[in-house]
């Protein structure tokens, strides 16, 4: 069975290719760089297309008709009618599968299952990376806030930390949030030396603060693969 794997994430595509190649009956194909997905399907004649849902050109697969024996047939989305939960899991993981010319579904499900597992694995890895970056950034903010307190209030480092912690506990918020305020206040004071700049900074923080009446999630989004399924989890 010929499988066209349309995934721009090289590491993930490589790992999945390795997993699927363990089955000698499978041939894994990849579209060329910049090649239209429709052209890749026409040129490579796959039986199954596995596609990263973050790709905007996924729409190209819908409605393509493959001409074979005078009977043009459309590429169809692989669907397991009896296992809606599995289909939902694959979508959450961000991978979708299309059948070309009547491949029997029982052969396709294990392949999509492997792909979904690989995508989920990478999703978790990315989430952990993001989390680590956030922690690192927060530590930096806390350090900067401490430095400001040490300089302005002539505190020792342990006292500066205790000051942040007491504020956080009494207001029911996190230490990095208090630290961020200290740093923001410092920036406004510095900028207010130049009166023209100060309102701009204030306005900027207002814009962020007003973003509370509902939330945005980025779907499977090419603008930043890391944004994928941020809201779906």
């Amino acid at each position: 069975m010929r499988i066209l794997l349309a995934d721009d994430d090289a590491a993930r595509a490589g790992a999945l290719t390795k997993v699927l190649s363990a089955d000698p009956s499978l041939t894994i194909l990849r579209p060329g760089p910049g090649e239209l997905l429709a052209d890749a399907v026409a040129a490579l004649a796959p039986d199954v297309v596995l596609v990263d849902m973050a790709r905007p050109d996924r729409d190209a697969l819908e409605g393509i008709r493959i001409v074979a024996s005078n009977q043009p047939r459309p590429i169809v989305l692989f669907v397991d009618q009896d296992d809606a939960v599995f289909m939902e899991e694959a979508i959450r993981a961000g991978v979708s599968s299309y059948n070309v010319l009547g491949v029997p579904p029982p052969d396709v499900k294990p392949i999509l299952r492997a792909a979904a597992a690989m995508f989920r694995h990478h999703q978790i890895a990315r989430a952990e990376l993001r989390d680590a970056e956030r922690r690192l950034h927060e530590r930096e903010i806390v350090d900067r806030a401490k430095a400001i307190l040490i300089k302005e209030r002539r505190m020792g480092e342990p006292d500066a930390y205790r000051w942040l912690r007491t504020r956080a506990m009494s207001s029911g918020r996190r230490i990095p949030d208090i630290a961020r305020e200290v740093v923001a206040r410092e920036n406004v004071q510095v900028l207010s030396v130049n009166p023209a700049s100060a309102p701009a900074t204030t306005q900027g923080s207002n814009t962020q603060g007003s973003n509370t009446q509902g939330s945005y999630t980025q779907g499977s989004n090419t603008m930043g693969a890391e944004a994928q399924n941020r809201g779906a989890q």
Partner: protein, 360 residues
Amino acid sequence: MTVRVRIGMLRLTDSAPVVVARAHGLFRSLDLHPVLSIEPSWANLADKLAYGLLDAAVMLPPLVLASAIGLRGPAVRLIVPMGLSQGGNTIVLGGEAIKESASLPPGARLVAWLAGQNRRPRIAVVHQYSTHNLLLRYWLALTGVDPDRDIETVVVPPEQVVAALANGQIAGFCAGAPWGMAAELAGVGNVLLGTSDIWPFHPEKCLAVRDDWAVANPDALTRLLRALMRAQAICDQPEAADGIVATLADETGLALPREAARAALPGGSSHEQIHFHGAGAAFPALPHAMWFLRQMRRWGWLAEGTIIATTARTVYRPDLFSLAARMEDLFVPPGIARNIPVPTAAWEEPTFASGPSESQ
């Protein structure tokens, strides 16, 4: 009780009613908690609606109908309780020759352009089951061009059509704002006509809702429609356009290019404009659904036995719209459902062997 509603959309100017409703607090004022999801493809919206990861979405009417009758996977119970916008797409052709025929009418320009092509030209649309594709094919047929024989259609994402035209992967396209103007500015193509020239005030985007969500949350559905109706009224005011552009350009949201988004909004510089509120833009008219379905049948896409009138009535729900519209004091004329203009029946005669004869 505040009800959460997950609404999906693409990065397009005509997603405006949803993002404007959120920015103006219209959902919150009607006790709705919107969770907006920006997706990269129409297929993602259709899949996430199908598997319950979204409750509603800004959709292409033909794609909703195709999903509902199982043309792209399992049949999904979806309803269209309102329209969201009209018009906004342009047909663009590339190459030098098209620039020389500017004085001719669009049909004559197309024919001259086709005669000068040394192979079957590829024209891109945004999705097989899109208003773009159906209106393009309708107009081609009207001009005497067989869309299945004389040209080849491919699907290319709108944000990639200008580059694809520049590097020769396609010879032309039909896409929404701002990509027609972007192609002209880049000097790679010329706008031949807008889709509103083919069908004035044609329905473009609609709200698709999962039927089970609508049944489980009837009051919230009415509130959702009311919030969007209020947003549509705002979106149609030229004096509100700058604020809407700022909302559309918001980095944390759709992040659309400002100038291009402004051009297609009311009072903008584009020839082809998007309408959100007037001329029945919000009314989910059965004749619209039936026109789309008849075109799909014309091109041989519908399974035998698909009953157009029944499908249209199952998916399009003017009754739900009217309920919400009355609460907003919007006047819905009693005869409106019977007097919706669609392109004339005479134009719909199948011109080519590739389209099976219509029976309706």
